[in-house]
């Protein structure tokens, strides 16, 4: 199959949905303001990005700034979650005493939905970036942590034997054997984590912050601008897709040694 016909395959379903939606909106079955047609959304979105005719009113030309402030919160909270989740995950997976002392607390905090931390986050951090970053961290931390622990625990102990036969110290075992062995699982956690990170930035922005895509989304809802709501949703979806794609690229670079040996490597 050629590359061209493959990308065509991917586009079929979205194009069909868009076309059906356009037709439905224009049919007048619902008031146009309640379900704006894709062409209308695209127009508003274009103005939000490039600022050509102020259809998006106060938001005109401010998309890059909005997207950036959301992305910064994601990057900050996610970054903290990656570093702490991987390090703590390795420690819990490797040392029994760390597991015994830390794991029960973690397991109790884990089922608490991150959004339920919003009141406390606002009290502690005020209305600004920090509560959003905190929420993003909470959302991304647990999947990364759990997957890292799993990766460490399922590392092949024969590889650890082989490395200690070659004189590896404990620290070297962790760095040169356990970490790379856990990497496929860690990446699985990173991909779940990035989805949670976007979800929580948007949630936080709807409640606790006065900027970003989530804020625009919620604000437009109050002003009955459903075209902007949809444009914001599409923006979030697109950025989430892009960051996940980035992680996938990193993953296939880091796990290139799996090529040819896993089911996943069949993907073109």
């Amino acid at each position: 199959m050629t590359a061209l016909s493959k990308s065509w395959e991917r586009a079929v379903v979205p194009l069909f949905i868009l076309a059906a939606w356009e037709v439905f909106s224009r049919s007048g079955f619902l008031p146009a303001a309640l379900l704006p047609a894709p062409s209308v959304v695209l127009h508003t979105w274009g103005d939000w990005i490039f600022g050509f005719d102020e259809t998006s009113q106060g938001n005109t030309g401010r998309w890059v700034a909005d997207a950036l402030s959301s992305a910064t919160r994601v990057a900050a909270g996610y970054g903290i979650a990656v570093v702490s989740g991987v390090l703590l995950g390795i420690a819990i997976g490797w040392w029994r005493w760390v597991e015994r002392t830390v794991e029960p607390t973690i397991q109790m905090l884990r089922p608490v939905p991150p959004v339920s931390w919003i009141p406390l986050a606002i009290i502690w951090f005020g209305i600004a970036n920090k509560p959003a970053i905190f929420l993003v961290f909470l959302g991304a931390f647990f999947p990364i942590l759990m997957n890292t622990i799993h990766g460490v625990k399922t590392a092949d102990r024969n590889l650890i034997r082989a490395a200690s036969m070659m004189g590896a110290t404990e620290q070297q075992l962790l760095r040169h054997v356990v970490f790379p062995a856990a990497l496929p699982s860690i990446f699985a956690g990173l991909r779940i984590g990035i989805g949670a990170a976007w979800m929580l930035t948007v949630t936080a922005e709807m409640v606790a912050v006065k900027s970003g895509l989530g804020y625009v989304l919620w604000d437009s809802y109050y002003f009955l601008r459903y075209d902007l709501v949809l444009a914001a949703m599409a923006s979030i979806g697109l950025l989430g897709y892009a960051t996940d794609a980035l992680i996938k690229v990193l993953m296939s670079a880091a796990l290139h040694w799996q090529h040819g040996s896993t089911l996943q490597s069949r993907e073109g």
């Binding site: 036969m165 062995a181 040694w257 799996q258």
Partner: protein, 260 residues
């Protein structure tokens, strides 16, 4: 001075689940001279791996001491190279990085590691496969990498735990031949675990026949056969007959013990 010295080794495994102890090795004493190629021969479950793992330092004897080169063994170390039944290569590293893994641990620069690995890659006949990943190698090739990796340690002793058991007959024969050539060239001490009488007779300078569980040394047989070993010659077959008889006796005793 003996290269490896086992003194009154006893190993008891605690079976936590069934709450009883398993005597795996019962009072084994054995010394292996420098440059010797000792084959540990015994049926499966008789404690060969356990004995080898105690020399490697992966297991601690319940009683007795293991010394290698005069030094008491109290953990694994690079003075004893081990080749496992499964090659146990790091799947994320190419062949040459696996061979040079020890040098990575010692903090060598990449170019130096690469150079050092080449000698051993050539020695086991893997030139051209330096950049392949373990998932791309056959069983025989993986074992070659495992052997090269152990040789690069330049260890006093090489321990091998049924490294060819999973290979097809032809590959096995080639590898045995090459292993003998490498051993003759490197002048190292080898302890080679096997359950195959033929393999022990093709490889060893001495064969230690073990009893079935609990493992003891039933008999030590010195092989003064010329190399390459003629597997159809009368002296080879005399040894084989003798060892097979020992094994048969062991089997009968065990069955009687099971009935009684």
């Amino acid at each position: 001075m003996a290269s490896i010295d086992l003194q009154n080794i006893t190993k008891i495994f605690r079976d936590a689940k069934r709450k009883r102890d398993l005597l795996a090795i019962d009072d084994v004493s054995l010394s292996v001279e420098q440059n010797e190629f000792l084959c540990l021969l015994g049926s499966s479950g008789c404690g060969k791996s356990t004995l080898l793992n105690m020399i490697a330092g992966f297991e601690k004897p319940t009683e007795g001491t293991v010394t290698v080169g005069g030094k008491l063994v109290d953990g694994p170390g690079a003075d004893r190279g081990m080749v496992f039944q499964q090659a146990n290569l790091m799947p994320w590293l190419p062949v040459w990085e696996n061979v040079a893994f020890h040098l990575r641990l010692k903090g060598w620069r990449k170019a130096d590691r690469r150079d050092a690995a080449q000698e051993y890659i050539d020695m086991v006949g893997l030139r051209g496969f330096e950049n392949h990943f373990p998932a791309e190698l056959s069983g025989g090739m993986s074992q070659r990498v495992g052997i090269a990796r152990a040789l690069l340690l330049n260890p006093q002793v090489i321990l091998m735990d049924e490294p060819f058991a999973a290979l097809d007959a032809q590959t096995k024969m080639d590898m045995q031949e090459e292993l003998v050539a490498i051993w003759q060239k490197q002048r190292c001490t080898v302890v080679f675990v096997t359950h195959s009488v033929d393999e022990a007779l093709v490889l060893g300078t001495r064969v230690a026949v073990m009893t079935s569980r609990p493992g003891r040394i039933r008999e030590l047989i010195a092989l003064d056969l010329p190399r390459p070993r003629d597997t159809t010659g009368p002296r080879f077959n005399d040894h084989k007959r003798h060892i097979l008889n020992l094994i048969r006796e062991e089997g009968m005793q065990q069955r009687q013990a099971a009935v009684a």
